[in-house]
Symmetry: D2
Subunit: 337 residues, 4 copies
Amino acid sequence: MIVVMKRNATGEEVRHMVQRVESLGLKAHVLYGVERTVIAAIGPERDGLKDSLESGTGVAEVLPILAPYKIASRELKSEPTVVAVGSLKVGGRHLGVIAGPCSVENEDQILRTARAVKAAGASALRGGAFKPRTSPYSFQGLKEDGLKLLAAARDATGLAVVTEVLATEDVPLVAKYADVVQIGARNMQNYRLLEAVGKMPQPVLLKRGPSATMEELLLAAEYILDAGNPQVMLCERGIRTFETHTRFTLPLASVPYLHSKTHLPVVVDPSHGTGHTYLVPRMAAASVAAGADGLILEVHPDPENAMSDGYQSLNVEQFAQTMELCRRVAAAMGKEM
Amino acid sequence: MIVVMKRNATGEEVRHMVQRVESLGLKAHVLYGVERTVIAAIGPERDGLKDSLESGTGVAEVLPILAPYKIASRELKSEPTVVAVGSLKVGGRHLGVIAGPCSVENEDQILRTARAVKAAGASALRGGAFKPRTSPYSFQGLKEDGLKLLAAARDATGLAVVTEVLATEDVPLVAKYADVVQIGARNMQNYRLLEAVGKMPQPVLLKRGPSATMEELLLAAEYILDAGNPQVMLCERGIRTFETHTRFTLPLASVPYLHSKTHLPVVVDPSHGTGHTYLVPRMAAASVAAGADGLILEVHPDPENAMSDGYQSLNVEQFAQTMELCRRVAAAMGKEM
Amino acid sequence: MIVVMKRNATGEEVRHMVQRVESLGLKAHVLYGVERTVIAAIGPERDGLKDSLESGTGVAEVLPILAPYKIASRELKSEPTVVAVGSLKVGGRHLGVIAGPCSVENEDQILRTARAVKAAGASALRGGAFKPRTSPYSFQGLKEDGLKLLAAARDATGLAVVTEVLATEDVPLVAKYADVVQIGARNMQNYRLLEAVGKMPQPVLLKRGPSATMEELLLAAEYILDAGNPQVMLCERGIRTFETHTRFTLPLASVPYLHSKTHLPVVVDPSHGTGHTYLVPRMAAASVAAGADGLILEVHPDPENAMSDGYQSLNVEQFAQTMELCRRVAAAMGKEM
Amino acid sequence: MIVVMKRNATGEEVRHMVQRVESLGLKAHVLYGVERTVIAAIGPERDGLKDSLESGTGVAEVLPILAPYKIASRELKSEPTVVAVGSLKVGGRHLGVIAGPCSVENEDQILRTARAVKAAGASALRGGAFKPRTSPYSFQGLKEDGLKLLAAARDATGLAVVTEVLATEDVPLVAKYADVVQIGARNMQNYRLLEAVGKMPQPVLLKRGPSATMEELLLAAEYILDAGNPQVMLCERGIRTFETHTRFTLPLASVPYLHSKTHLPVVVDPSHGTGHTYLVPRMAAASVAAGADGLILEVHPDPENAMSDGYQSLNVEQFAQTMELCRRVAAAMGKEM
């Protein structure tokens, strides 16, 4: 930690901060610069130290030099983590594609979709049974009935099932049916829920919140890892910016950035990341070229009549074409899909 | 709803959309413009209609014309809602000030703070017993012990107690001790939690998420109102933008904007909204001038040794001065404080 | 234009707005909805009409239905524009790669770079002679001497030269040496400068400002097109968001979005778009997969000693590898590079 | 400057960076931490050093510890600068109010407005003669005729005239008529223009660009100061964020922040900062409470028929009421208005 003193800080203030640094168990090196004084606080950067030092009198700012996440860090484990469950393999050279409708609506819809995405080469089926909706007046999902339909679709196709869990109290129920448990963007910092899925045996797909920094995302993953579950996939699904021509802004540089910081695989969601069907195929291809370890795509047999997210869902034919395109780009990148 | 067709939409596509509009229970008026065709879909704008129409072929965009929230709307109830509980009164001409530490740390700390903020004129005590922390390695709060200390501070000072609840399963416990239940920014879209506090008798302080739109905030309030709890205070606590000289950007225009859209009172949090102690007094004054119905301020007897948020906490003397300043501005605005 | 009246607008206010709509030369259709009244104003949406109508009493909002740009619009010209000058071809199936240093520093540097990027397959040479710098104390470029060195590099390699112009008064000088004139992000809304390059024969590379919307970018292009220059390349170089792990956020969905709205080609700049050398290769590949018509890349023979932007420049070997990668992805996308 | 090495940096890389630091004229202190090595580079932080060091092999990041602006810095000059010209006084205890229409339209309009704002207590007149417009098809201002009308309004009322200059070539003409020259938000980083107004005797009102950081704003001011003009007023006029209920987001914490960093006065523009007339009065009051040294407000005798910005202009009566409100808040803040 580097404690930068204000230009007009007094000798007394500097001495006080040196004492505080030492009382916190760190070694203090004082560097008297031409224009101001800096105290290097050497030692493990425990959480909270920065905040504490920052409130000292005469302190201009405190610059941390270590990342606050540990288990997620690439410095700790350099080989990439490969998440593998049933038909799905994500990470390393494996590019997994998770496809399916926003919401599970009925048996026919989910079975037709599952068969179609399987035929086009998807490696897992997505579908929401518990739906977080911005308005209390919107369709909230079929709940356990939806989970049962997903399980039936798995039985019919062999595809692993990825579905979202909204609340701690639902974790056991969802885990009974799901192969991968998804934490949605709105719940990225629902720490109790992260701890709960951290105790389950299923891999977790953790979606980035729309205003979460990379550090916050990695610390959210750290909650799950720290609770004992090593199988976490990070999911970039777009951030909130001033742009309005897309529902969210999809910042693909997060893929190579995350690869440099963590061993966890990175999945991209171009459906939520753009919010418009016609932008999905090319952004799926771009995600693959950026190095994504997986894609998650909304597919619906009849988007116009979908109960949610029709405007950003691919129909079956569009999905097959998107898979074609991504397969070519994956080959160019040396990935297996 | 206004369905704008693409410039090159065919007559067939227009007819199809007219049928869809009618099949959804709306009346369709087709307007043939010089350059493109527009279909006005007249009738109640149920949630989901926009999304559904938007996925139609030949549609360029769909423009809704009604707000999706109902109970929160000023069009439904024009007089301002006044939330009153114990010593706290927020709304209308009443400016309430909620003050106290980020975290409850021990009996001495919370009692000293409570007495000091009371003496300076605060109308309620804040303090966290369950703390949502970005890192799993940070102090997570004293939990029930913290709640008991808050209740003791209320007994000693008569101040109403405002404290955060993090999870559905904690709602009964928190409600046993709290006068006002706070939903933190990270949980603004934790809908299960919103429903749970919507069933409690206590007023709710609902914090805006750092990337939430005004509409999303009002729809989150709608979840609580719709569950039966009419006493909701909205809290502006800053949004995430490209600015880094403040922890968040505090957009005070949300105060008069919300007053134009909703009858619910609006509280501002200049501590989280700036993230730096030295910016808090003036932004508190600015919040009052913008028309805020309440303030929530972090106050700690010894910020440098606070277990959390010391860098943005006022000490007792700074708080007293801030109250002085705000009282003068409140008088200029015709508010009682 | 759709004029949405407030719910409580009076009959008098509606009548007044109908008259205003008609006095502005538009046809007014009044639609009485269940909950509020809407006036459809049919006719050409001249600039300024929206603003004018919006200030009427009783008006809630005004929704335009036509894009404000004309010449840039894909609705006007559906085949893609191909910009071709010397060795550079951008648009349609042609993927052009513009490479070179941030600043021209000296003869050796620019000649070595030009030869190296040519050998690796670049189609044009970039290099700054007039440099816009955030600080007045930074290196501001070699000015005309830099332009002469660029011309010498063109003579030596046959590569077309792309260089920035900062001010109206420099346009004739820059045009004397450049094959393509670049408008930098800071000058995207320097309208006098846009008009000036709009009168030149050289193609223009127009960079998106870091907080410009797509509409603002297209209207800036419209200034150039309207002044008579049809050869405009749009350049996505990243936007300013809350993200700090990259210098800017590179939103690649703007590529397919722009392709749907305009016939102008779209070039991507992954160097400025990320701000870190190690992120450039994968984001260059992702840009190609997103459908970019061109890339502009910072390359320096010795980035550590570059006078500007070394931290985001590729060295010669990294550039050659990036070209290899992009060539494979371009082939997968059916583009010629 | 603090050079943080990567965790796995080699001894060779550390030695190389120590040499580079020393070759750049700085003193190097190497600090061997528990987990990584840090090199403190002590000495004047010339522009470009950070960028240069950052591209070294084995370097994780470089943390500067000094602000890059000098003349604008409060550390250099601690008393606030008061800008005074004719009827206008801004800074210290003086709160100046600049009011008038977006565009000068004709003699009657500007004279009526000037008399009305003078009567209500404004200290200067604003009005645009050269207008930067997003679309080439919009009204671009009356140019020199507009300047003449502004001068006539000054003669009639005694109010100092504030007007924008768009281009270097117009500086002499504008300076012939204006008391204060305004640099608009779009031109904040038009460095040639900054240098040009830096050589004029008139004070400059420098508007913050919608995505400019505080540091970029202060460095833009530094261009003007460095060219010899000490009379610079900074103007906060809102930033671009994800919010859409206001045209821009007005971040008032920039006022106390700037006061802590610079001696230059800070003016706030709540008209552009909100984009809606009904939000202006309260945000003007909030600006004063935040400590603003000045306000700039759009006022039009007939906003509905204004040629630009009617939707965010106050009419004469609304302006008088806003002045009343601000005067009370200014008194509460100890300011003279």
